[in-house]
Amino acid sequence: MNDSQMEARVKDAFDAIVVPDELMSRTMAAIDGLERPSGQMDASGEPIAPKLTPISSGTRRAKRRRRRWIPTSAIAACVAFACALFGVQVLNTTPTAFVDIDVNPSIELELNRFDKVIDAHASNDDGAAVLDGVSIEGLSYEEALTVLMQSASFAPYLDSDAYVQFSVVTDDSSQEQALMRASEECIARMPVQGSCHSVSSEVHAEAHDAGMGCGRYLAASELVQLDPSLSIEDCRGMSMAELRNRIASCQEGHASQGQQGGGMGGQGMGQQGSGSGQGHHAEGRGHHGS
């Protein structure tokens, strides 16, 4: 089942749910029977609803309710401890950055604010095969890259013809710099060409809607602009190296056809991250390079 089939099924199911007239009538009757509210608000600014006789029977629970006397200070200490634990847990499990790595495998790492990998997803079958062979959750970003690049499932893609693109997505500029730096260092250690870009949330969303990593999506978008006979879907199965070779061929073709037209409009991939995502763009060292 793909995403669109699943979404269609969800829509069909929820479309079939309609509020019963009887429930609306009963609710209106309950509201009409309310006394004027005191105007009290709860912490979130929502008015406090008065106690109604619940539609469901609450007697069982009411019978079980017992008053317990526990020292207030002990409760406060427990609450403070729980809040502290909860706060740490939230910080640890909330993603604040994403890094898409596109070669032919496309994988995405979700990172928390401490640059720890909290989840990893694949955008294609090759990516899934790579992730099946490694365990990187809980590792720092640098450690995760090392494990990935040295893994038996990923290493075969890192030959001299390969191109690796890192796409960093985050609203936090200091985290972006740290991740860009680590990514560039990783590229420098590999025998491949590669680059690292920061990408906006919008492009990230578009790429995922298209079922691709950001790097592949940006390259596919550029190629489709240069060669309108291709679609984004056609580019989905191409490796990053193939996409870049095709882009280069198209640009050469356009340049030779339109010499008198002045400079071509072909822009580097790094400049495509629209909106706030534009920024750093670092080409890595490699055998095709300078």
Partner: protein, 163 residues
């Protein structure tokens, strides 16, 4: 207190939306009905809250309905403890034939209820209500990247369950 006509009109337009949110949290019709009632009581009392348009009103109702459901679930856990919660799960009332769903609907609802929240509500808002990630982020007051992550994770989990 808002005018009777205002409440009635809002319930007729957005009642099903609120009902879907409530059923997304509770398998028991009675609990879902309680949450539905609570939501519209809050709406009736929020006469100092003004809405820019119907979309704003709808977003407010969804948020209040979701909070009402979560409050009920929290309160249930506090009062009954895990053993009773499990017992309550066993004693769930079967879905009424008049308003319900065939097995397809049931499967989807059960799959939704099996998700944590988040990603349950953001996923529902994205897939069914058609809200964009930035809109959901604004509605739930969380970073937009977090919403993307919830949606992506929720879709994956839902797909696995429904497959």
């Amino acid at each position: 207190m808002r005018e009777h006509e205002d409440i009635e009109q809002t319930m007729s337009v957005f009642g099903s939306t609120v009902w879907r949110v409530c059923l997304g949290y509770f398998r028991s019709q009675h609990d879902a009905q309680d949450a539905f009632q609570e939501t519209f009581i809050k709406y009736a009392q929020a006469d100092s809250t003004s809405f820019d348009d119907d979309e704003h009103r709808k977003a407010w109702l969804i948020r209040v309905a979701s909070n009402a459901c979560k409050d009920m679930l929290r309160s249930r856990k506090r009062e009954d403890g895990l053993a009773d919660a499990l017992a309550a799960q066993e004693a769930l009332a079967p879905t009424q034939a008049s308003d319900a769903p065939d097995s397809l609907v049931h499967d989807v609802l059960d799959a939704f209820r099996a998700l944590d929240d988040p990603p349950r509500l953001p996923l529902y808002l994205s897939i069914y209500e058609g809200y964009s990630a930035p809109e959901i982020a604004s509605m739930l007051d969380v970073p937009v990247n977090t919403v993307y992550s919830w949606i992506s994770r929720g879709k994956k989990a839902l797909r696995e369950v429904l497959s």
